[in-house]
Symmetry: C2
Subunit: 383 residues, 2 copies
């Protein structure tokens, strides 16, 4: 049925009607006074969302572009960096660092397991010469549904004293608490098609005073991604290059919605969705890929036994027009991922679980009693 | 009056209703089969628009990001490049080249005058050692309304034989003939908020086989802007990073409109708009900033005498809600610029000229007979 598609993937996430309609307005000149007011409003609301007084800059890029800006502006060729790698995105930041000639030391964990903060502690405490310039962490690893223990790793970075902490918060910002000022996170990158509830095309980078100090001596070449140009412009409610005007109309609408809901409520909603999903999946006898104590609030990965992951995705799509994400790289065909990030309600979550149960019946799965998933989810949501 | 704003600036340009509504659709997954079909359709239609069999790649960037990708992918630190600089954008590519450690030699002309192709010929013919790796040209210099003689400069680059020709076609592509394959243009960068008739946020880069050969030995660091990653993905109707799904819905609609109008008609329309505007401005006794034989088809810059440029812009905005562009840098307050690029009809052009005449009357300008501008424009459009 046309227009009945339902997105339960970790991005693009569903977009509210008011955002879609806001984006359908005619663009205005990005150098006009009216647009300057919009940039001012967005910047103020972004600082609220980021829980920070640091600069929060908007770039016309996807999440990877935001992270690249967050890395190359503060480092020089040969700089030693620790990169946490326990999934597709951690791996990507290691590759990116190598592409820019950084001395990348990966701290790995098996895909599906969280990074061990003690591995970082060991490297950081051994570095008495303070040669480690930055630690790059993927907070919510989208490829596996693992939430890394950013708070603890950050504590060890703070004990080190010199290294910057650079965070990929692409699927954590706006879903779980990322208190930038309280924790002292130096650089935090994110993208619009996630917790922000707008389509892809806008990237965000928050930058601390300590990171700006590092900028002064950083020598990696940059122009389009030169964050100082964005800061100078943002300080005057402007942009260095043409910004994506219509996406920013959408962002105006979505940030208003987020402020109306409130940060605590947003985080609580994502937690309930996560817990309901995990309870249902467990009750259905399907193994969760990430452990309970490292569950991403954005996405739940499932590694089914006794039933094929791709058959589940395919039936969900064909029979119920619900898009789930598959596995990436070596997990292709082995896991499926349920997104519950951004504009997702408890009703949506029940719908997805109901469809998953029906799909399992269609596929002849006999690992659980019919209705067990719904009952478990409803129990979580009834509290 | 709300919603009566009229854009006559060189970007963002007006966006058709069908494009705005297309962008207001719910996003779908960018890794889905349905979206893969969209990428395939867009790529085919972009090749039509670019008049090329070369790769045409889509990036989530503004025009500057597209040009940066078009430059850094094919060059190495210390490479000698000639950069044409006769305005804000030529100047920008020189700065960009310097930021990346290229040996930039600027070939300049006064702002408002076209680059002299013979200056390029002199440098290129003297370079018997073939040390010049690329020539970077802004085709339509948006800051001044000058169209540089790309065809002749390109001929000299071809005579050189080794250097790549890298073109900023941001305000020329889709407005005037840029026959990439016929001329053998190696790299051509452009942006969505111009001739493409969609909002800002998408950049385009076309890449020739010769440029790909240069890519193999180019050592400037890159990751988000690594065009080989875009090529590999595009060859499979995919994208390396999350693309701006909703802008691409808009692009589907606008490319269909462009194909229905036809390239020849699009170029003819822009030429008529340009000629009508210039005839009207002349008849009003206002000096044109660019000469007739180097007039951009996208934008007409006017350097008024006997009346203040900013007063004209301000009255046009306040009384008629028409946005004109001002001058940049040392031209601030000295020129105003009328955009006639993209989704602009002859009716729009008459409207803008009528409002300009009325504005001049409001400001007490006595340099021309009332109605002279309209008469001149109508004469051009009656042919």
């Amino acid at each position: 049925m046309q227009d009945k598609h339902m997105l339960m993937i970790p991005g693009p996430t569903p977009v509210p009607e008011s955002v879609l309609l806001a984006m359908a307005k005619h663009p205005i000149g990005h150098r006009s006074g009216d647009f300057s007011n919009i940039i001012g409003e967005l910047t103020e609301n972004l600082k609220w969302l980021h829980q920070t007084q640091n600069d929060v800059l908007m770039l016309t890029v996807s999440g990877t572009g935001a992270m690249e800006a967050g890395i190359i502006n503060f480092l020089s060729p040969g700089d030693r960096v620790l990169v946490g790698n326990n999934g597709k995105f951690g791996e990507r930041w290691a590759k990116l660092g190598q592409a820019f000639g950084l001395q990348v030391e990966e701290i790995t964990a098996e895909w599906g397991k969280p990074l061990n903060p003690e591995d970082f502690k060991a490297k950081l405490t051994a570095d008495t010469a303070k040669t480690i310039k930055a630690v790059i962490i993927t907070h919510s690893e989208t490829s596996t549904g693992v939430l890394n223990d950013l708070a603890t790793i950050n504590k060890y970075v703070k004990d080190h004293g010199e290294a910057l902490i650079i965070v990929d918060a692409v699927t954590s910002l706006g879903a779980v608490n990322v208190p930038i000022d309280e924790w002292g996170l130096d650089v935090v990158g994110s993208g619009s098609q996630k917790g922000y509830m707008i389509p892809p095309g806008l990237g965000f980078v928050s930058v601390s005073a300590k990171a700006w100090k590092a900028y002064e001596t950083a020598t990696l070449p940059k122009f389009y991604l030169d964050l100082k140009a964005y800061k100078k412009a943002t300080d005057k409610n402007s942009s260095p290059f043409t910004p994506p005007v219509n996406l920013m109309y959408g962002l105006q609408a979505s940030l208003k919605m987020m402020k109306a809901e409130g940060l605590e409520s947003i985080f609580a909603r994502h937690l309930r969705l996560t817990q309901a999903t995990r309870a249902a999946v467990k009750a259905l006898g399907l193994p969760l890929f990430a452990p309970d104590d490292a569950a991403s609030p954005a996405i739940t990965a499932v590694m089914p036994t006794g039933v094929d992951a791709e058959a589940i995705r395919s039936t969900m799509k064909k029979q119920f027009d619900i898009a789930l994400a598959g596995g990436q790289d070596h997990l292709k065909g082995k896991i499926f991922r349920i997104g519950h990030l951004g504009f997702v309600s408890e009703r949506d979550m029940l719908t997805a679980i109901a469809a998953l149960e029906a799909t399992l019946q269609t596929l002849g799965y006999e690992g659980a009693n019919p209705g067990a998933g719904m009952a478990a989810a409803a129990k979580v949501l009834s509290v």
